[in-house]
Symmetry: none
Subunit: 225 residues, 2 copies
Amino acid sequence: MSSQRTVLVVEDEPTIATAVADRLRAEGFAVHVADDGPHAVEAARRLRPDAVVLDVMLPRFDGLEVCRRLQAERPVPVLMLTARDDETDVLIGLAVGADDYLTKPFSMRELAARVHALLRRMTKIAAQDPPIVLGDLEISRAERRVVRGGHEVHLTPTEFDLLVHLAGRPRAVVPRERLLAEVWGWADASGTRTVDSHVKGLRRKLGSDLIRTVHGVGYALEVGR
Amino acid sequence: MSSQRTVLVVEDEPTIATAVADRLRAEGFAVHVADDGPHAVEAARRLRPDAVVLDVMLPRFDGLEVCRRLQAERPVPVLMLTARDDETDVLIGLAVGADDYLTKPFSMRELAARVHALLRRMTKIAAQDPPIVLGDLEISRAERRVVRGGHEVHLTPTEFDLLVHLAGRPRAVVPRERLLAEVWGWADASGTRTVDSHVKGLRRKLGSDLIRTVHGVGYALEVGR
DNA sequence: CGACATCTTCACAATTCGTTCACGTCGCCG
DNA sequence: CGGCGACGTGAACGAATTGTGAAGATGTCG
């Protein structure tokens, strides 16, 4: 249950990156490092880290842009590293969704403390974010776990996101296009069977009665009120 | 938020469209862009967005016309973008069902704030679009389900859409030409028996007393008040 | 590197749906 | 009352949509 937390460090300066990564690993985190904007967004998408440590100055596109994109895809706590004590950076950073900031130079001790604080704060918020209970189906978004009929079911990340989106409007039909947009971030909905594939997975794991298909439109979650 | 919100942006100017879309994505919305009137109506039908950001000036037919058609199909909050501070536009916009408006030039920040406000307001007012209840007939558009006399009846997509359009004006005669236009999107109403065919299906499934034929004109839903 | 998990696509089968056709019936009008 | 056009109906065809198993690609982890 208290599974290891994952932190994504986005920093192009190898010296700093290594130092930060080592310290956070010593604190018990699983750490991944990305060295520019595109890599960071990419890595976050795959990794779904519990927190991101983000340098403002980066190759390709900067930390602010990264932050904006991360928040657009999935809310994630961000600790921003600013080079100078420039209030502008800080304000902009907070505007695009950063949750805390640290001015270089900073001590590793302080960094670790901030990351811990960030995660504590976030898990508190997540804990207030109540599980979705629909009949005999229970979805905990904070823990990303699903229970049906009393026992836990393992879902892949995509399956989980899909289920959450369907559960957001219980019994209502969610168009495939909309699922593609919200879960996958795709604009083009033609010629792909991805949604169907994952619905198949959900039905296999959760029972074939859970998801109703509405021909020509989309899918709907069928649950007791 | 329980589930991500989808916004449809209707704007033919690529620069503005991109800027608006990016900002809204950064705010956590799933965004789709349509670049003219027909595309907008089409996209809204498939996507069922939670809100629409709509430019008044558009190719093919203008924003007001789009707004009118959207409201005719399904109530959806609309934020209208007007080029100049012309009160006429604003008044007409509000008349055809827009819920708020913004005069160009506007800041992205303001746009985002308006969209958020729109959704907050709307979710409070209409938690869900309520089912249509007509005598012993119950139609849930969100679930795309129909119940008559207490038990559920399965309708095909076209049958369902047809029924909804008839139920939109209970007891009134809806001309076939109008049905063809609204349900099928056909301009040409001659030489086809498609409407009749689907009315047949509805009568078979829901009872022959439900739909009255008005010779030479169209059909009407006959239901208790 | 090799085992494993995940995501997406592909090809094929099964199902569902839409439209038209042919023909019988009905209603309006002179 | 007779005719003509509109409507009802069942069948049937093709088209579109979905279910499904498996393969390929990619990435993760030890």
